[in-house]
Symmetry: C2
Subunit: 588 residues, 2 copies
């Protein structure tokens, strides 16, 4: 195998074009097998094998610097830079991350997982090179989908002003995660259709020199063009047309489905099993029904329909009442705010980690204008995710902004009541933290009037210890209550706060009567979170408070069970802490 000879990019430079073509065909099945085993980004990696080989053939990494946007397409790069064993040997499948990681290799410069950052990062590298009077190429590889993000535009606008070498490779596979959205994409199409020759050219309008490569999966053509721009003394865009999912027919044909896949997708037989009811399905069933009744309802999503179960069928039947704004989270918030201000009923679906792009828009465009949107926050909570995709920060992010009402349902009954209330109310910007995991039914009808904000619910009245268990951690609260009964003979009070963004002063004041200790449980970061507000409330009283949640750190693919152990998010550990606290020993 050609791959046997490749232990670093240098080895690549000895190969002929034919050998490099062979190499690409050797790498392809390795990626397919590995991703089908572990899950991961399939389509993006299959489309960029040839370009990555050509990049490493023409340029000299790490002296020449590659910045991968999102870095979810870096598998071939990892294979070529001394890490092929994570693809050739299944035992090493989990040894390396699915993103660039400086701790793994000097060929990886940044830890990246969010979109649209590569051009800005590359501009900084280029400027640093220039300040030091050094030479070398700086190359950003960015997908067409990522170009719609504001940070990418800010980067392009600034990169274009560099008076020196910077090479932006635009990997145009005609797809974002799902289809692209935005006026820019018409221009990319025109450029493709004219072999890059159209007068109207977005990149040239910003001041870039521009090259087009129609066959972006043709190593020879790529090398030819990369050689033309190597050591160039001004900013240039190389626009290459690639095929997402190339070489795996099912991925070529189902580009959205194969952008990121769960393990073993390729092994499964098509099933006709009844679809499972989950938080996504009940949400989308409601949204569709409501959209039929009320033409003012509109669902908005920034480029992640798969996360929310917004299938192509759902999108089609929602028609004009569904907008995918592309990778444009900032726009999504302002857009939703204006829709609400005009009397429409926007429901914005967004993943906790990507919501981080919108702090200022949440504050200024939304909260300051007090626009009654409904924002559904997905995947919020402590998890074993990559450091780039942690969803533990949304409570501190949202809940310290005035005016927003952030709700934490504990079960499907509460969630549906909150959702239906929120969509029709006109008083508050409302966010709902959709529970993670399986659908939980607590088997009651929720008749709460959520317009009376910041009213917590006492689920079980007890004494001595009060457990305030937020959202998904309500279940843990129940377990702790039982543990306290069984192990310490304590009949604890159990509280379901429901509202993340406010304090129920009356209830908390009442607790002082028969309780010595309040514990808070939240599925997210302690710092700046929910529990600290409770600690502050009781600061001037004799009430003791223990807060449970995650610590301020970027964890990276640590199994959630280990994190629970570390953060004492287990009934036994919490009961032990409570025992120590009540009996004056030093707790955690």
């Amino acid at each position: 195998m050609v791959l046997d000879k490749i232990n670093s990019p240098k080895d690549l430079k000895e190969l002929s074009i034919n050998e490099m073509n062979e190499l690409a065909e050797e790498i392809r099945p390795l990626i397919i097998k590995k991703v089908n085993t572990t899950g991961g980004h399939m389509g993006p990696n299959l489309g960029i094998i040839e370009a990555t080989i050509a990049m490493h053939y023409v340029f000299n990494s790490p002296e020449d610097k590659f910045v991968f946007d999102v870095s979810h397409q870096c598998y071939t790069h990892k294979i070529l830079t001394g890490r092929k064993e994570c693809f050739t040997n299944p035992e090493n499948y989990y040894k390396y991350t699915g993103y660039t990681a400086p701790e793994e290799s000097p060929h990886d410069i940044f830890k990246v997982g969010h979109t649209s950052t590569s051009v800005s990062l590359a501009t900084g590298l280029a400027k640093s090179r220039d300040l030091k009077g050094e030479k070398g190429n700086v190359i950003a590889l960015i997908g067409d989908g990522s170009l719609s993000g504001g940070e990418a535009f800010e980067g392009l606008d600034n990169a274009a002003e560099l008076d020196s070498n910077i090479i932006i490779i635009v990997n145009d596979n005609e797809m974002s995660i799902a289809e692209n959205h935005g006026g820019l994409y018409k221009n990319l199409r025109t450029l493709r259709e004219t072999n890059g020759k159209a007068e109207l050219n977005f990149f040239k309008s910003l001041g870039f020199d521009y090259y087009y490569v129609e066959e972006g999966n043709n190593i020879e053509q790529l090398i030819e063009t990369f050689n033309k721009v190597k050591n160039i003394d001004h900013p240039v865009v190389v626009h290459i047309r690639t095929l997402k999912g190339k070489g795996l027919p099912v991925a070529e044909q189902n580009k959205e489905m194969f952008h990121w896949i769960n393990p073993r997708i390729l092994d499964e037989q098509p099933q006709n099993a009844e679809p499972i009811e989950d938080y996504n399905s009940i949400t989308n069933e409601y949204l569709y029904k409501k959209a039929q009744e009320d033409k003012n309802l509109i669902v908005i999503n920034p480029a992640t329909p798969g996360v929310h179960g917004f299938t192509p069928a759902f999108r089609t039947k929602m028609g004009k009442q569904y907008t995918d704004v592309g990778i444009a989270e900032e726009h999504a918030i302002a857009y939703a705010s204006a829709l609400a201000k005009s009397g429409s009923k926007p429901v914005l679906a967004i993943m906790s980690s990507f919501l981080q792009r919108t702090y200022d828009q949440l504050s200024q465009d939304l909260a300051l204008n007090n626009s009654p949107i409904t924002m559904l926050v997905y995947w919020g909570g402590i998890s074993g995710a990559d450091a780039t995709h942690l969803c533990t920060f949304d409570i501190p992010l949202i809940s310290n902004i005035p005016n927003i009402v952030y709700l934490a349902p504990t079960c499907k009954e509460e969630y549906m009541k909150m959702l239906t209330w929120s969509v029709d109310q006109t008083e508050f910007p409302v966010a709902i933290r959709i529970p993670t995991g399986d659908l939980i039914s607590r088997g009651f009808e929720d008749n709460t009037d959520y317009s009376k904000i910041n009213k917590y619910k006492i689920e079980a009245k007890g004494e001595k210890v009060a457990i305030i268990a937020l959202g998904t951690f309500f279940k843990l609260g129940e377990e702790v209550k039982n543990e306290l009964r069984d192990k310490l003979g304590i009949n604890a009070t159990l509280i379901n706060p429901k509202f993340i963004t406010g304090i129920d002063k009356e209830l908390l004041e009442d607790l002082k009567n028969a309780h010595e200790l309040v514990i808070t449980l939240e599925d997210g970061l302690l710092n700046g979170g929910f529990g600290e507000k409770i600690a502050r409330f009781y600061g001037n009283s004799a009430m003791k408070v223990l807060n449970y949640g995650s610590e301020k750190e970027f964890t990276d693919r640590i199994p959630v069970d280990k994190l629970y152990e570390k953060y004492h998010l287990k009934k036994e550990l919490i009961a032990e802490d409570i025992k120590n606290c009540l009996f004056e020993k030093s707790p955690i």
Copy 2:
């Protein structure tokens, strides 16, 4: 006067072109006098008088909807929409805000003060109109400077896809707050130089129809073009060339200085007084000296040089070691992170309120990569500012992100030590909250080794009560200490924490020995802030804690003294709270 006849936009429609020209010349001195009296945005408003008249003549507000970007250019709009008395009668000068404000008038749709949001907001209004099957024009007015912000691009990219009416008026006065930066601006220049006829056209590349008005201060020409696009059925950009500061020669010639002015600028005689030493001057003196010694130092600023005292002279002498990235805060952080990763020493200067644009970049591009940049945060603290420009949120914003070290100096000696340490260290992303107000010297040499992070300093050892007084509120801490001595005979401990982002566990643990109560003082939001971490720390102990700072609310031009009263940020009120707390009465 023509203005006497104008009480609503309807009255404008009766006027001839000549009368409208007269009206513009009547409005101009009113704006100059008012802004020179109260302070405010001078240049932007003087440049847009004619266009605002033409907009209100052609379109029918509020059925047709105007969205003003930043809305710092809305003075003529206010005059024409029933609020002229705030310009004609000095007694009413403070009656209305300097930005659009829905509570003032149905002609103002959004509360806006940050840049680059108008196109997204207008897109939402247009979409809502379409969902409801209504008619009408939606018009966004955006300055050329604001176009570099990522949110504006996301908005344009999405607006271009609307299958209906949206009109983006690009007010091109060839300036941002200072000069423009970015490749886009070369294209705007080309368009101006070709009377809008250049083939390469940024707006057309995104799919917009496009009109150019060379004389953007000519009411007749503006009306002619606005009439062409009125009721248009697709997205269109009207690019108008205006003169910033028009009609006030000193403002036309000093566009940057007259973007926003303090009161009475026009009345002052040029002075040759010695320049005052302040936090800006000592910062910039250090930065220039350091830049001379070390070619790796680079100062970065997103379009607000005036805030930091980066005068044209300073910028010139810094040469390639100064980069204004334009209105592009997201890019600024990623760019700085990459510079630091490459061994350069970036110092990023940014205003607290505008830093809000960068939460995700602080987290992902910076903190996750642990890049050793120095970020100087300006104007952080409680103030009487407009709701759109509050600087009270930076502590919750920054301090709940892992890895970043956020420092709060209490005086110039600490600040300079922190700054010089930060610039040369290579371990941490460091942010420094530059104190507001006059330079404070505490007359000692600071020999602290700040690489030993999260070590608080005991400034005075006492007992019973410990005062942890952060940054600018250290002075208040000293006052409280004296008040406790004088009124309650308590010799309180006074602590200068210096580090916002971490807990000095050892010191806090020690305090338990001789203290019953800890109070925290911070010049910013309590929710998610510094004090709550202290409250959490002591949650399981007998130590009582009182936290002082601002409440979670958008205050709007409330004098700071009233806010201090409300938040109990006065020595007498705090001493009273302490007395109540120690003697078991109910405190605040």
